[in-house]
Symmetry: C2
Subunit: 365 residues, 2 copies
Amino acid sequence: MLSTRLGTIKGVHVRSHVRSDGRITGHIPVSPPTLADVAELAGVSRQTVSNAVNNPDLLRADTLERVRRAIEDLGYSPNRAARNLRTRTSSLIGMRFAPAQEGTANAAIDRFVHSLVEASEVAGYHVLLFPGDDLDPVRGYDDLLRSTAVDAFVVTDTWLGNPQAAWLTDQRAPFVAFGRPWDDPGATHPWVDVDGAAGIRLATEHLFDQGHTRIAWIGWRKDSPLGEDRRSGWSTTMHAHGLPTTGLASRVEDTVQSGAEAAAVLLDESAPTAFVCASDTLAMGVLHTLWIRQLAPGRDIAVVGFDDSQVAQVFPGGLTSVRQPLEQAAVEVVKALEALLTHQPVENPGVLLKPTLALRGSSVV
Amino acid sequence: MLSTRLGTIKGVHVRSHVRSDGRITGHIPVSPPTLADVAELAGVSRQTVSNAVNNPDLLRADTLERVRRAIEDLGYSPNRAARNLRTRTSSLIGMRFAPAQEGTANAAIDRFVHSLVEASEVAGYHVLLFPGDDLDPVRGYDDLLRSTAVDAFVVTDTWLGNPQAAWLTDQRAPFVAFGRPWDDPGATHPWVDVDGAAGIRLATEHLFDQGHTRIAWIGWRKDSPLGEDRRSGWSTTMHAHGLPTTGLASRVEDTVQSGAEAAAVLLDESAPTAFVCASDTLAMGVLHTLWIRQLAPGRDIAVVGFDDSQVAQVFPGGLTSVRQPLEQAAVEVVKALEALLTHQPVENPGVLLKPTLALRGSSVV
DNA sequence: GTGAAAGCGCTAACAC
DNA sequence: GTGTTAGCGCTTTCAC
């Protein structure tokens, strides 16, 4: 049996092995083993090796076994670039990864990426991250698309007025959105989203169950459909129980400071006993105001956030928060991606997932 | 001028354009424009187009301009797979992205990835994420390496006993570590790290400046060189000021619960007035204990964490924390990667960066 | 400065 | 079931 060792010297692949082309190489820079090397060692044609890798069912059991052994012995792995060139695929999913938001509790996208990496692996994909360009939001997409560097995109920033989804649709580029097409109900691209309104309904019901009747809402500005959707979860639940909402809602920027200020005003003017917030960031603002006023979260005033961030989890006493099933979302995104890339008929372009409520000390005595 | 529109229909690229091979295609599935298409339109050979893209200096100004215009008109972008195959490079940097840690404040890796994506872009690289395999820690690396899917790796989990760095070195695979080779001082691979001891010295000095003399340490178990390094920052500073350390140190698991318990014990037995912690997670544990005991962070007891996590930033009053310069670390990692991949002589395999201290209410009155 | 030829490693199509 | 042929799109020689 040929003894072969693979590796790279200063970035150049080397191998000590008698090559298929007859050259004898002892740690002289050469390529990793190719299909041809495996074919020669196994005594079959290159195509048979290819079939052994991609369509094993086509081979006779003994041939397959022989080829498998040769692959094992040589440590062969198909060259990605060659396969990509030939099949016009890359097994890569592109996703724009915007800079981290500091000073907030927002990290849902990071958690989503973790899940996406895991879910993609199962489907044979890897995740390629690319940065955004503030001046030209489609630049990164355009570059990757035209150089056929990725098979598809996952788009996560689906806010109002974001041109990416429309642009990708226009380019007929395969993509799945994590987030509903808020600004375009007629959009036909596949998407996966979490039902924020349902999450806030859970939160509000929970507070009602705890005996609260004056439940305040702190959310985002009116031009955020996502924020308005979450807000509707609060208002519907309040109305369903015949509870007042007047003077109990506030719409602010998504910062701790804004949340703190909104909470102070609401406490002074409307005396709520509980707060439901559109984000953990805003909820931390509320907790900040409670801290200043020496009010105990959970005991004096209840607070619920949204996203079940690390902040919610490690805050002393804990912050009750709506948790998005991001692992599940990633799985659904990959599922949609696979359907898209195998040209399966799109039955259901939109998948809406139900969040859960992580109960902690800020809302339970 | 030829009018050309690019796109994909159901994932297949189409173009309405008279092809270089003479076929007239009107939204019939074909490939995106190739070098040959550009060459034809510009009236030059394919190699000249290649040169225009990769070695523009070789062309005469007018030729270059003509080719550039053709590239622009066709919306040409070199096919990545073809280029990768030919050049045996991928412009991809692989990094293992382990599942997110919940229930902790740890998110430094996420922040690092954000920075890495930005820094890589500048050098013409993209970041490819792959999941870990608990049963076989080198599997993901091995697969990508043998299929020549990435040019290099960034290794972030350099804890004791981690086989990846040694394995990659053995495979002669190009990689840069974010984190020192704690277990192998003789390691020759490039690495970038943050001086944790210096960070903790900053923190301890700060507390000393605030008038504290009984400063406790809560760190990790002794088998963590990273933890012991940070701990040394505390002990050296204490000794330098002639302050006692006996009974003021605790080594525990990196969880909120452990931090809380350690703080309770230390408070009962050694009456410290300040805590320095190896992580924000442990610091949150301390804050939890203070909360239970109705002690005010900053006023009654000072607390400093490590990592300047979102948690530290949004905690009411704020948690003072050592901040790692992760943006800078990413830049240094990419720099080392470029040197490695262009076979520049490695002058300085290790880069140690200085952290800063983010001052907040938990340590300042 | 520009062009012609070759080939990277793989798989689709077809022959046997 | 296996082998042969061709070619994906690019860059690297080497002529001219």
